[in-house]
């Protein structure tokens, strides 16, 4: 299969996602410039981490206006799998592909460290290889990952089983200390109603090789390949 990794000016995890797709998963991948207007035949799209357009306004606020986003939205409408990682998640929120918004971390500081997330839903193309309740140790790196949504939206997310990942302790228990940024309902990742668009703050591409100290992120990336093979 072929991955398409969108490169916004200011993206900085684009090469990491491309490396994971090609060198770790052994799949094809292409870096797609944000001014491009086609997805080059990609079977799955990744919006990578970084600071698109500098993020001097709100994170992701300007990236939604990049020409390629029109194609990404059409691709998502057709049911194509779209994964937003970190800044990519923020862009998905700003472009309306996912509901809610990001606030600054409750500690008001950028945090880069390994956290634990529990897989809540396995019927998305990005978690279909995981077990429900499986706890993954994956790094985060963000200053604005404090997910927020009003009560009615939260209720809808929970009712539709759209919360895909939650911050937990290593044993899977929901404890406040394990929530690194103050996200409501300890939300680390969500999907859309159709379940083909997922946004997550942790970086699976940073945890898929033993040399980097962990491989728990691999299940996310391998799920994409599995979903493609069985589609």
């Amino acid at each position: 299969m072929k991955f398409g990794v969108i490169v916004f000016p200011g993206s900085n995890c684009d090469r990491d996602a491309d490396h994971a797709a090609t060198q770790v998963l052994g799949q094809a991948s292409e870096l797609i410039w944000h001014k491009d207007t086609d997805l080059k035949g990609a079977d799955a799209v990744i919006l990578p981490g970084g600071f698109a357009h500098g993020d001097y306004l709100r994170t992701g606020a300007m990236a939604r206006f990049s020409p390629i986003m029109r194609e990404v939205m059409a691709f998502a409408d057709r049911g194509g799998p779209v994964l937003g990682i970190c800044n990519g998640f923020q862009i998905l929120l700003e472009s309306g592909l996912l509901p809610g918004a990001m606030l600054r971390n409750r500690g008001l500081k950028y945090r880069c460290e390994h956290v634990h997330v529990r897989v809540e839903q396995t019927d998305t193309p990005f978690t279909c290889g995981a077990e429900a309740g499986q706890v993954l140790r994956i790094p985060i790196g963000h200053g604005e990952g404090n997910y927020f949504a009003p009560p009615d939206v939260l209720q809808m997310l929970e009712a539709n089983r759209q919360v895909v990942l939650r911050y937990t302790a290593p044993d899977g228990q929901l404890v406040d200390d394990a929530n690194p940024n103050g996200s409501v309902h300890a939300i680390a990742g969500i999907c859309n109603e159709r379940r083909n668009v997922v946004g997550m703050m942790p970086h699976p591409e940073r945890a898929c090789e033993p040399a980097l100290g962990g491989v728990d992120g691999l299940v996310i990336l391998e799920s994409i390949v599995k979903a493609f093979a069985t589609a």
Partner: protein, 748 residues
């Protein structure tokens, strides 16, 4: 127009220097020319006080691809690749405006690296502040760390480690030294030269504003209570602009349309035009009206001296301009042709066609003044180098358990997690050793190799003996790299000192440079570049002399990388090297007695070299499972740190006694907390320990099994009697939360 004394003083120039300028020009300089001379002849740009000493440093070696004099140094790391690296200070700006000062320091060092054609892959930093509980320190530390994070995180280069130290001598003058490492194809290293008459000179990046005018001159003067007024001389950073420049410049370098490139750092447009012309043996002529300007009504003087950030100067081959412009357009950057290379060796600045400055490049660079400043051994050394151990009395805290906990909670030794978790240390997915686990280690994708980096300095040792202290800094940086399993290849230095016009400071400087030279020669690590920061004084109080050394080493097999922590119970713990219970200048002496006295630990460079070679061999042959250098806080702290981040694994240790005084308590403390150099604690499985000891014996390195990993407590016996018995969980809590707790306290 005649130049008065006030104008000279404002430009930081001495009357004798004006005479020299007049002799070069054959006339008096105009104001623009005076400004140009003042920044190019500032200490920061000209190295006029330090140059005669720096010339003595070893800069050659078969691995050196680029020595001092370019934007950064480079060493050969095999596979046709080069490691490009440099360290630089941003002390003065960071004191005045900590966030922007530190951020633009990071921006500047990154530009130095990609200017060489290298993709930056790692950042490190070395920071010094006043005592953590002193007024103002938290604000400075908070701002500096946030500034480093704000810039590095955004541009997407991992900050993989560094050091932070606290000493009262830095209270009025914090040190912010930033290091960057990049990778380039050895054959594609780009230089900062302007050559080829008629080739176009391009300006690209941010517009020029009035910020940072005379930044280089500010960095060449002492501070006083009016320094806050210099805030406009601090620049404001834009990491997004720099990210675009980085990607666009690397893309331009893929073509062969480029002749040379240099960033506009200190002294901005002035420095980049003159240095590029001087290196290429050419002249540069620019039209100032073409320079993109952020504000209206800027004078040629202001434009030439502005230190606005994120700007680059390029020389492009004739006929290839279109290609280069198209690449910058792709990144929404506007490359503007502002002039051309000439054959006459002059820097010529025009404003709307009229010449406003015309100076031979040579006068600004090679012919800048060089001073052999007077030196005198400072009187304070007589007093501080003596340490009467018998007269010390009982320490407080008295027991070894309490003393160890106090050391682990001391901000100098405590975990720096509070800082490094604000840095993105994993972006680029190469980081093999997370911060705090030893040297920073990044793999080189596609090669199976990795690079290890360490930045180290010890101001206290250098205060007590600048020569020995500097040697110890080189040895420690190399040892840290070797402890990761990497062979040290090259070094960069950042020399932070007080006012060189004072003979005592100049003596400290000269001694430190001698020490660095001797250690680098003995350990086979040439200096490939660096930076000198003088005038680190506020109200007449100088900082401790603080040379900071950055060392880069190569791991042939990335998967042989080692870190400090023990890997499981039942492993044998081996001490390599011998301790002599040296307490001079130690953290223990400072903490227990409030003393900064005595001689720093002795250093035998031959012993250090064989120890480092042994470390690289043991790692390559996969004979050991962990390695940790013994430094601040001595063996007891080293052993405790080996137990941390292991989910509570402990160790049972037995040490030899040392006798340094009649008082028994002090002898035990010396065995536990003495900071003798050239020691490493390693762990290995029982089946390999004999081989480890044999290799050590063959190399001539003292080696002894001192215990094994077991349980969840750290127990240390000295001469058979257990003196330390601590729960790892408790010790680790103290160590890992000490700095966070200081910040958690409400500011009164």
């Amino acid at each position: 127009m005649t130049i008065d004394r006030q104008s000279l003083e404002r430009h930081g120039l001495k009357p004798g220097e004006l005479d020299r300028i007049v002799a070069f020009l054959g006339r008096e300089p105009n104001q623009t020319e005076l400004g140009i001379f003042s920044v190019m002849w500032s200490e920061h740009c000209s190295y006029k006080s330090s140059r005669v000493h720096l010339r003595t440093l070893p800069t050659d070696g078969p691995q050196v691809l680029q020595g001092p004099g370019e934007n950064a140094g480079a060493v050969d790391i095999g596979d046709g690749l080069a490691a490009v690296f440099k360290i630089e200070s941003h002390n003065h700006p960071s004191f005045i405006e900590p966030y922007q000062g530190a951020a633009t320091g990071v921006g500047g060092i990154i530009r130095d690296i990609f200017t060489m054609g290298a993709r930056p892959i790692a950042l490190m930093n070395s920071l010094r502040f006043g005592a953590l509980d002193a007024s103002g320190t938290k604000r400075l530390l908070d701002g500096v760390v946030a500034g480093i994070a704000g810039y590095g995180n955004s541009i997407g280069i991992p900050t993989v480690g560094g050091e932070i130290a606290f000493e009262p001598s830095y209270a009025g003058n914090p040190l912010v030294n930033v290091f960057c490492l990049g990778i380039a194809k050895a054959s594609d290293i780009v230089k900062g030269v302007a050559s080829g008459v008629g080739n176009a000179v391009y300006y690209v990046g941010a517009k020029t504003g009035r910020d940072g005018i005379h930044g280089a001159t500010m960095a060449s003067a002492e501070f006083d209570d009016r320094s806050a007024e210099k805030r406009p001389a601090v620049q404001v950073g834009d990491p997004f602009m720099e990210k675009l420049l980085l990607e666009a410049c690397l893309e331009v370098m893929q073509s062969d349309a480029l002749v040379g490139i240099q960033d506009m750092g200190a002294a901005g447009l002035t420095c980049s035009t003159t240095e590029m012309g001087s290196r290429g043996g050419a002249g540069v002529e620019i039209e100032i009206a073409l320079v993109p300007q952020r504000e209206t009504g800027m004078t040629p003087y202001e434009i030439m001296l502005s230190e606005s950030q994120e700007r680059m100067l390029l020389v492009v081959k004739k006929g290839r301009e279109g290609e280069v412009e198209r690449i910058f357009d792709k990144w929404d950057l506007h490359a503007v042709r502002i002039g051309e290379v000439t054959g006459d060796g002059f820097l010529r600045v025009k404003s709307h066609g009229a010449v406003v400055a015309e100076i031979p490049n040579r006068a600004l660079t090679d012919e800048a003044p060089v001073y052999r400043r007077p030196m005198e051994r400072p009187a304070y050394l007589q007093t501080v180098q003596t340490l009467d151990l018998e007269g010390l009395g009982w320490p407080a805290p008295s027991g070894p358990d309490d003393a160890l906990l106090a050391l682990l909670g001391s901000p100098n030794i405590a975990s720096k997690r509070w800082a490094y978790r604000q840095y993105d240390h994993m972006v680029q997915t190469n980081t093999m050793n997370l911060p705090g686990l030893g040297a920073g280690v990044v793999r080189i994708k596609g090669t199976g190799r990795a690079l290890a980096v360490s930045v180290d300095g010890n101001g206290r040792y250098c205060y007590l003996d600048p020569r020995l202290g500097a040697m110890l800094a080189v040895a420690e940086a190399c040892r840290n790299v070797a402890c990761a399993g990497a062979q040290p290849l090259g070094a960069t230095n950042c020399l932070n000192f007080g006012n060189p016009e004072r003979p005592a400071i100049m003596w400290q400087f000269a001694q430190a440079v001698e020490g660095i030279g001797e250690a680098c020669r003995a350990l086979g690590v040439p200096i490939t570049g660096g930076n000198v920061s003088l005038y680190n004084e506020t109200d007449g109080h100088a900082i401790y002399p603080t040379p900071v050394i950055g060392v880069v080493g190569l791991l042939e097999h990335a998967d042989c990388v080692l870190a400090r922590r023990f890997r499981g119970t039942g492993d044998m713990v081996v001490l390599l090297g011998a301790g002599r219970g040296e307490l001079g200048g130690s953290e223990y002496l400072k903490l227990a007695y409030g003393l900064v006295r005595g001689m720093p630990p002795a250093l035998d460079l031959d012993a250090e070299r064989v120890l480092q070679n042994l470390m690289v061999a043991l790692a390559a042959e996969r004979l050991i499972r962990s390695a940790h250098d013994c430094s601040d806080g001595g063996l007891a702290v080293t052993l405790a740190e080996c137990c941390f981040d292991t989910a509570g694994a402990g160790a049972e240790i037995s040490l030899d006694a040392v006798t340094i005084a009649r008082q028994e308590g002090l002898n035990a403390a010396a065995a536990l907390f003495g900071e003798s150099a050239s020691r490493v604690v390693v762990s290995t499985t029982p089946d390999k320990v004999t081989e480890v000891l044999q290799q050590a014996a063959a190399a001539g390195v003292p080696a002894r099994i001192i215990g094994e990993t077991s349980g969840n407590r750290l127990r240390i016996a000295v001469a058979g009697a257990t003196v330390v018995d601590l729960s790892i969980a408790e010790a680790e809590r103290v160590w890992s939360t000490a700095i966070e707790q200081v910040f958690a306290r409400k500011v009164a």
